[in-house]
Symmetry: C2
């Protein structure tokens, strides 16, 4: 045997994340194999992207499982979810933009399922009174992935440190940019970052 399929996929994901138009030859080089070998494992660019999509879906599902979106306060579940999704941020960023190309084509049911699970989390939070009622679960779901993509980009471009990824996204997502007397992002039981900016006057 040869060529660790998973290694190839991850290399491809890393490369395509910041150069989505990379040639198959470039993808192969990035993985340390020849174009011929790459083609032996993935019939073509289409197949490669599909495989990446499958990998992304797989990681999202795994992240969702690990984040236990049904447990405890919804806000904490969101924090855990972002935490679990962080390793896949680059790949997701790529797929997020790539998916817009599939406009019109039928969306992979895997995404629909993930979308549903995340939406369910936001719905639960809304029902429990934790989340605002004027922001729909659908929008929050879309926004979450959008922010993850933006976050991955910011970190990649060096405008922010990797260690701030989780904080940036979770805090903006949950608490917003406005400073409040009572920081909305107080931890509901879980000890995440606690860089409370001493909201006092």
């Amino acid at each position: 045997m040869a060529v660790d399929r998973d290694h190839v996929l991850r290399s491809a994901a890393a490369l395509l994340t910041h150069k989505s138009t990379a040639t198959l030859d470039e993808v192969a080089r990035a993985a340390g194999i020849s174009r011929a070998t790459l083609h032996r494992h993935f019939a073509g660019r289409e197949a490669l992207v599909r495989a990446l999509e499958a990998l992304g879906i797989e990681e999202c599902e795994a992240a969702l499982d690990a984040a236990r979106p049904e447990d405890g306060p919804a806000a904490d579940a969101v924090r855990r979810l972002v935490r679990e999704l962080e390793p896949a941020a680059g790949l997701l960023s790529f797929l997020y933009t790539e998916n817009q190309l599939f406009e019109g084509e039928e969306q992979n049911e895997g995404w629909a399922r993930i979308d549903e699970r995340v939406s369910a989390l936001f719905r639960r939070g809304r029902l429990s009174g934790e989340f605002r009622v004027d922001l729909t679960p659908a929008w929050l779901t879309e926004a979450l992935f959008g922010l993850i993509a933006s976050g991955a980009y910011v970190v990649l471009s060096g405008k922010a440190a990797p260690k701030d990824f989780h904080h940036m996204i979770v805090e903006l997502m949950l608490g917003g940019a406005l400073r409040t007397e009572e920081p909305a992002r107080e931890n509901h039981g879980e000890r995440d970052h606690d860089q409370h900016p001493a909201a006092g006057t």
Copy 2:
């Protein structure tokens, strides 16, 4: 004369927004002209994208001018900015993802300028005590454009109504998803004293 250059650009923007790989032939058809004519106005795909980029920059600058980011509460300035940016959301969404392809190449200085102006707004808000200090202006700027892109996508896909565009983005951006005793979105200028014992736990 013939072919309203501006019309062609806007058609192209609309098409490329949801199919970024559209053929020049498709772009031409979308604008209601022939590929030959399209080519007479824009030397090639490269030139076309550049023109779209220039248009996007122009609209952003105009939006920034109209939003008076220096006036009044920073939060209100953000609201005005999103309002002014809304018509260009589709175009921005396209450029936002497209820009990631130019990774490595020198970024158009126009974007740098816009980035700087928006960042300045968030810096101002942070200094005035309106915005949180743990979220950097750079991140908020990136996030704002990311949310605008997400918002444009959600509206385009029909998951949200166009009329909610502004609300969705501004509210999530400023107030976050968490429900608070004193909804941040009601602060349209004057800060109402929030001395509520919102201590969740």
